[in-house]
């Protein structure tokens, strides 16, 4: 019969009281878990958002720099990508003869929709969301050009890239191999025309749902002989890009996008991302501040609860303390016994809290913490508003909360235990 065994027996002696304190303490601990889990999840979400934004901006910036000497030429006006006006292929050859132009590659870029041309557009609290229902994108390229390597994907995983003179063949992004359920050597059908897959390339952010073929094949697929949707114009001297773009716009009535346009767009994108990050950061700050208040309140309530129950237990067991002293127990050993009882109750409360917290954290977090305010974004940036991240309970959090509960049990019983250890044996034995 050791002290620990006696401690456990004393803890379970008053079953209902112990159960009540353990459950109450458990709920306090579950609240702590929920608050912590929610704050951590949102902090992580903010961090992920920042990292993702930085990555996107970097890859877009790299792409802009890489294509600094390219003018993208589009038909004048309208939603050109979704079936608007086209450019005559022959204009590409006229542009290529402009002084200072190295090459002009005609491209036919078309999206394949489940119901051709279907596109939905809706508005949410979080801003404007556009659903492009495209299944994939077909990019037909004039393969005779000397600069096709600047347009075609660079990382071929299987098979080969497209080359001059190719016809009736395609290369697929890695993602699209799943959609077509096809690989190198297989045949796929696009708008009823058969193509052989000769290569698979590594998907990137911009090309994850793209397949490439020759321009003439694309024109055949979409029945657009002699038409292109854009022309990539390669300028010999980067400093002359704006001048040549103006010339194309003036002489052919076409729209152009240059390095400067892209840079402006990038700045807009960056501003928008920054705004979202700031809103998310403000939300996380708000969570932390409210969470801290609730944390302190819960902790105080739990400590006071343990303190009162332990004080009551000490009072109730005054006579027992006197007996222990009379048979030779020291004040310190009595102090340790009561402290241990508090710690055991704290541990039980912590475990119950971990169980309740593990099950009810999302619900508790929903009740206890504010939701993010809707974010209004400028029309044109198709991004949803920020959302509260789902709280995730980690093993570290559970250990931390059990630790806090044990500490509370210990601290809450410290004063009652000290009081018990200081009792005069004569008075304690007389206590009824």
């Amino acid at each position: 019969m050791g002290m620990l065994s006696r401690v456990f027996r004393n803890v379970v002696r008053k079953k209902v009281r112990t159960a009540l304190i353990v459950v109450a303490l458990g709920f306090c601990m579950a609240i702590l878990i929920s608050i912590q889990a929610s704050i951590t999840a949102n902090q992580e979400s903010l961090q992920e958002m920042k990292e993702e934004n930085a990555k996107t901006l970097q890859s877009v910036a790299e792409e802009i720099n890489r294509t600094a000497s390219i003018i993208e030429v589009f038909p004048g006006g309208g939603m050109w990508e979704f079936g608007g006006p086209f450019i005559n292929e022959s204009i590409a050859y006229n542009i290529s003869s402009i002084e200072g132009v190295e090459d002009a590659i005609p491209i036919l870029e078309r999206f394949i929709f489940p119901n051709a041309g279907n596109m939905t557009k809706e508005s949410t609290d979080g801003g404007e969301v556009i659903h492009f229902m495209a299944l994939y994108k077909v990019e037909g390229i004039q393969l005779n050009s000397s600069h096709i390597d600047r347009i075609l994907p660079t990382k071929i995983i299987k098979g080969r890239n497209l080359k001059k003179g190719d016809s009736g063949v395609v290369i697929l992004s890695q993602n699209l191999t799943k959609y077509f359920d096809a690989g190198v050597g297989d045949t796929i059908t696009i708008n009823g025309i058969y193509f052989e897959v000769v290569g698979v390339f590594e998907s990137t952010l911009l090309t994850s749902r793209t397949l490439y073929m020759s321009l003439s094949d694309a024109q055949r697929v979409f029945n657009l002989t002699g038409k292109v949707s854009k022309i990539n114009v390669y300028v010999e001297d980067v400093d002359r890009v704006e001048e040549i773009a103006n010339e194309i716009e003036t002489n052919y009535g076409l729209n152009t996008i240059t390095y400067l346009d892209k840079m402006n767009s990038l700045l807009g994108m960056r501003e928008h991302m920054k705004e979202r990050e700031e809103k998310m950061a403000r939300y996380v700050d708000q969570l932390q501040s409210i969470g801290l208040q609730e944390f302190v309140t819960t902790l105080t309530a739990a400590s006071v609860m343990v303190l009162f129950i332990m004080l009551y237990a000490v009072r109730e067991r005054t006579k027992e303390i006197g007996i222990l002293k009379a048979i030779g127990f020291t004040g310190n050993s009595i102090l340790i016994q009561f402290l241990l009882e508090g710690i055991v109750i704290g541990f039980m409360g912590g475990v119950v809290g971990a169980v309740i917290g593990g099950i009810a954290t999302p619900m508790l977090a929903n009740i206890l913490l504010p939701k993010p305010k809707p974010i209004t974004t400028p029309i044109g940036y198709a991004t949803p508003g920020i959302e509260a991240a789902n709280p995730i309970v980690t093993p570290e959090m559970i250990l931390l909360v059990i630790g806090i509960a044990v500490l509370l049990g210990g601290l809450g019983s410290l004063y009652p235990a000290w009081k018990a250890s200081r009792k005069s044996p004569v008075e304690a034995i007389r206590y009824e």
Binding site: M1, G2, K325, A326, I327, G328, T330, P425
Partner: protein
């Protein structure tokens, strides 16, 4: 030659109640020899329990000293007093004062928990002591499952756990019927005879006191000079 195991010198205890001084004990000079079985008799309020509490280091005197086995316990700090209570004294209370959550054998083991006696040795000794008080079959029972007499026997076995020099019994028969009380007094006598432990019993019951070997009288906090011999002859008899 008789060896003195317990001695008090001018032991005085004064309480203050409502600004009034109450002399619970006045200059008590007492000497108990090793192996004695002594009763201290006196009417209610004569200071018997106060004297026993001071002898047992549960309370401190206002003045005077208590010497147990050559040590002046009035000069000891709380830790030293705990040691004396643990190693030199065994208590038997009127209300038995067993720990309700522990079985009989665990109650007997309890005082040994504060010593360096190994666990298996504690259990063995507790069993022997329960045998000695005739409760070998009730070792695993909790106090509420035992009769009053049995509970007092467990309390006696617990008092003997650390082989004390003295057993102090405060009205050990107060909560028992006269027949059971007599058995308890005889059991104490038997233990004194077998083990040689000094036993001091405080009682107001003359019949119970007469079962000891020596009877002292306390009145109004003063130890009377008269002494009586009891029926118990003990080892020396």
């Amino acid at each position: 030659m008789n060896e003195v195991v317990l001695k008090t010198v001018n032991l005085t205890k004064v309480y203050e109640r409502g600004g009034k001084k109450i002399h619970a004990l006045s200059d008590v000079n007492l000497q108990i020899n090793r192996g004695d079985y002594v009763a201290i008799m006196g009417p209610s309020g004569s200071g018997k329990t106060t004297l026993l509490n001071i002898l047992g280091c549960l309370d401190k005197p206002t003045s005077g000293s208590v010497i147990i086995d050559g040590t002046d316990v009035t000069k000891l700090d709380e830790k030293g007093l705990s040691e004396i209570r643990r190693n030199k004294i065994g208590f038997v209370f009127q209300a038995f004062n067993l720990i309700p959550i522990l079985s009989a054998i665990e109650n007997v083991e309890l005082p040994m928990e504060c010593t360096k006696i190994p666990k298996y040795e504690r259990r063995k000794r507790a069993r022997q002591l329960l045998n000695l008080v005739g409760l070998s079959g009730r070792a695993e029972h909790r106090p509420h499952e035992l009769s009053a007499g049995e509970q007092q026997r467990v309390a006696i076995a617990r008092a003997l756990a650390n082989k004390p020099s003295i057993i102090l019994a405060d009205e050990p028969t107060g909560n028992l019927d006269s027949k059971t009380g007599e058995h308890i007094m005889k059991l104490l006598g038997l233990l004194n005879y077998k083990i040689g432990t000094t036993i001091i019993v405080v009682t107001h019951d003359q019949k119970m006191a007469s079962l000891t070997g020596r009877i002292l009288f306390l009145e109004d906090g003063k130890l009377l000079k008269k002494e009586k011999k009891g029926t118990y002859l003990g080892r020396k008899g």
